[in-house]
């Protein structure tokens, strides 16, 4: 049997060429062009668009967030994926200025004027690239009943001492039913927490089924 029928060259990389930047676009795509392609009716065009959204940078953050609430599920999904692509590109090593510019735009998505799904996504994006500027606005959302758990987890992941300080501050002010959540994050970050023992092994949910 021949073993050479499995080519050593990159097959998937070749296939990835299917989604290369649109032909003839030597100049960078404008944000409007990106959004238009994200809204396109074609699955293939939308996919090409979000795959190439990485370099769109900070100016594309808010326009993409707006499309994330589109009534067309696939358009909304393409916008979300484009935004993630952009965030991951901004988080690459030595991208400092671009990282901070995107971070600033993401912080702008945490406000009450945004849909919950957008704010939740922004919290998780900030968990990956957020720095000192993100701490206060993320911590603020730990007061929001719908978003506090995501905010807590986002803050837990930001590797700065300020994040720990913010978690401690929120722990003091948090309602009783949320203190154990914050205590979990504080322990994860190496802090001692008195009065709120870990509950991970405490069973809570019973079945009504009986043995045969």
């Amino acid at each position: 049997m021949s073993m050479n029928n499995l080519s050593r060259k990159s097959l998937a990389a070749g296939a990835a060429g299917l989604f290369a930047a649109p032909a003839g676009t030597a100049r960078p795509e404008t944000v409007d062009e990106l959004i238009a392609r994200i809204r396109d009716a074609s699955d293939k065009v939308r996919t090409e668009a979000w795959l190439n959204a990485g370099k769109a940078g900070a100016p594309a953050v808010k326009p993409l967030a707006k499309v994330m609430t589109d009534n067309d599920l696939e358009v909304a999904r393409a916008a979300k994926r484009a935004l993630w692509k952009l965030v991951r590109d901004a988080g690459r090593p030595r991208a400092g200025r671009q990282t901070r510019a995107v971070e600033a735009e993401l912080i702008g998505l945490l406000g009450d004027d945004q849909a919950v799904l957008v704010r939740r996504e922004a919290l998780w994006m900030l968990s990956e690239i957020g720095g000192r500027n993100s701490i206060k606005p993320v911590a603020q959302l730990m007061k929001n009943a719908e978003l506090r758990e995501d905010a807590r987890m986002s803050l837990e992941r930001i590797p700065t001492k300020r994040a720990i300080t913010a978690l401690k501050a929120r722990f003091k002010a948090a309602p009783e039913d949320f203190k154990a959540h914050i205590a979990q994050s504080l322990r994860k970050r190496g802090e001692q927490v008195a009065g709120y023992p870990c509950r991970k092994l405490a069973p809570t949910r019973k079945t009504d089924l009986k043995p045969l």
Binding site: M3, S7, A12, M153, R157, K200, A202, R205, K210, L212
Partner: protein, 453 residues
């Protein structure tokens, strides 16, 4: 796989005796058992966490060990009431049903747990079970994040429990033949292993979010994952096609095929220095794992390259045709030709198909006879049997927690490189990505309260 029904007590204990220097975890009481049947105190009392899909098959397999008295199934657990009810029927009289696995961990009479939950639960449940002193059989892949893997290794070691990860390819009869063939230099020095697999599926019929079905505890299905509305494309089974829960074919089958590669290359405990991935995503739908994928792992000291490729079906290497006279209880027809690996040495090549419960070695390895002075390798008595051996003797299992995490880490790092769109550098000794802070953050994932490591 050889079933326990075919393994009598003498054979089992002979296998168990392979690690005489290890400290046993379970001390036999000395009560004489009936011939071919273990004494009550030698039986391992098991509980099954996650009993639908693959978990159901694990339960059925364990049932096979109950008849000869090797195990006693005491409990089943699932967060889907319908699946739990079916498992209860399957398990039989006297087995206790649970919704919350933590009730099982509280029971002192349960020696071991068999975990067949979706991947995003593995890390948390393995750590919790180890902390409660339970021996563990956990489905592959071992973990979803690097941090989970570290915690799993630490908790299993600290609590001195036997763990077996369900990459059962290592325990297949033809895996033994392939391993023996390769380590005896039949294709010379191996510098490259190319794993192949058919593509991950695309969701052709996406649906909007909806209310979860009444029988499903959606919140607990999510467990450690961030909360989101239910969508029926998440589960059951289809969690595999989402990066955060299943990771696609690279994590689902990569944990099998690359597990064999690490075992046969003698590379357990080592890791790549660089990982570079490309791939193509689905064009619509909820699932986001790469459809086609190409990952290159570069190892140093010794130098070799491991690749993982999801490729179009028409580019997969054809399966070897097996002649009827070749087939027997151990050598079977290739029924899953769509994945495997090609080992490229300086004196030839070798191919195997499968790598999980079905592992098929090329004819030349099957026909090769070990010469006098040749090097033999460990022959697993079966994946469960090997685990029982580990429980009873303290011997290291064939797919022990370090090996399981090592294989899963390859899958995780491949996906991380794909997601980030850049090459990653890995420090195996420190178990960390080097020089990329965002990637380092993604080595862990914050977990919802109270479902955490």
């Amino acid at each position: 796989m050889k079933r326990s029904g075919q393994l009598n007590r003498r054979q089992f204990l002979a296998a168990a005796g392979t690690a005489v220097a290890s400290a046993p975890y379970l001390i036999p009481s000395g009560v004489l058992a009936a011939r071919g049947r273990s004494g009550a105190s030698e039986r391992i009392t098991t509980a099954h966490i996650g009993v639908g899909g693959r978990g159901s098959k694990l339960l059925r397999e364990t049932k096979g060990f109950q008849e000869p008295g090797l195990v006693n199934i005491a409990a089943v657990c699932d967060i889907d009431r319908s699946r739990l009810a079916r498992a209860l029927e399957q398990a039989g009289a006297g087995v206790m049903p649970y919704h919350d696995y933590r009730y099982i961990l509280e029971r002192k009479d349960i020696d071991a747990v068999v975990i067949g939950t979706p991947d995003h639960w593995h890390g948390v449940q393995v750590v919790h079970a180890a902390e409660c002193g339970k021996h563990i059989y956990c489905e592959k892949p071992a973990c979803c994040t690097i941090e989970e893997g570290k915690a799993m290794v630490a908790s299993v070691k600290e609590n001195k429990v036997a763990a077996q990860i369900g990459s059962q390819g290592r325990s297949q009869p033809e895996a033994y033949l392939a391993h023996r063939y390769l380590v005896n230099g039949n294709i010379g020095h191996i510098r490259r292993v190319d794993c192949f697999h058919y593509p991950s599926p695309e969701d052709k019929n996406p649906v909007p979010d909806s209310d979860p079905p009444a029988e499903l505890d959606w919140d607990m299905w999510l467990g450690p994952l961030r909360w989101r509305p239910y969508n029926k494309r998440y589960c059951h089974g289809t969690f595999r096609w989402l990066l955060e829960s299943g990771g696609g074919q690279i994590r689902d089958r990569g944990a099998h095929v690359m597990s064999c590669a690490m075992w046969w290359m003698g590379a357990d405990g080592t890791g790549p220095v660089t990982i570079e991935a490309t791939g193509t995503p689905p064009t619509k739908g909820l699932w986001d794992s790469a459809v086609l994928m190409d990952v290159t792992y570069t190892f140093r000291n010794p130098d070799w390259v491991l690749t993982w490729r999801q490729m179009p079906n028409d580019q997969l290497p054809p399966a070897e045709e097996r002649r009827p006279e070749e087939l027997n209880n151990e050598i079977r027809k290739i029924t899953r030709p769509g994945y495997g690996a090609i080992y490229r040495g300086d004196r030839g090549e070798f191919i195997h198909w499968g790598g999980d419960g079905g592992t098929w070695a090329e004819r030349k390895a099957r026909n090769w006879k070990l010469p006098a002075g040749g090097r033999d390798v460990y022959r697993s008595p079966g994946h469960f049997e090997d685990w029982f051996n580990g429980i009873k003797t303290g011997a290291k299992t064939i797919m022990n927690i370090e090996a399981g995490v090592g294989a899963a880490n390859l899958c995780i790092l491949g996906n991380l490189s794909y997601i980030l769109g850049r090459k990653l550098e890995w420090d195996q000794a420190k178990q960390t990505i080097v020089g990329d802070e965002a990637a380092q953050r993604m080595m862990s994932r914050p977990q919802r309260h109270p479902y955490h490591l």
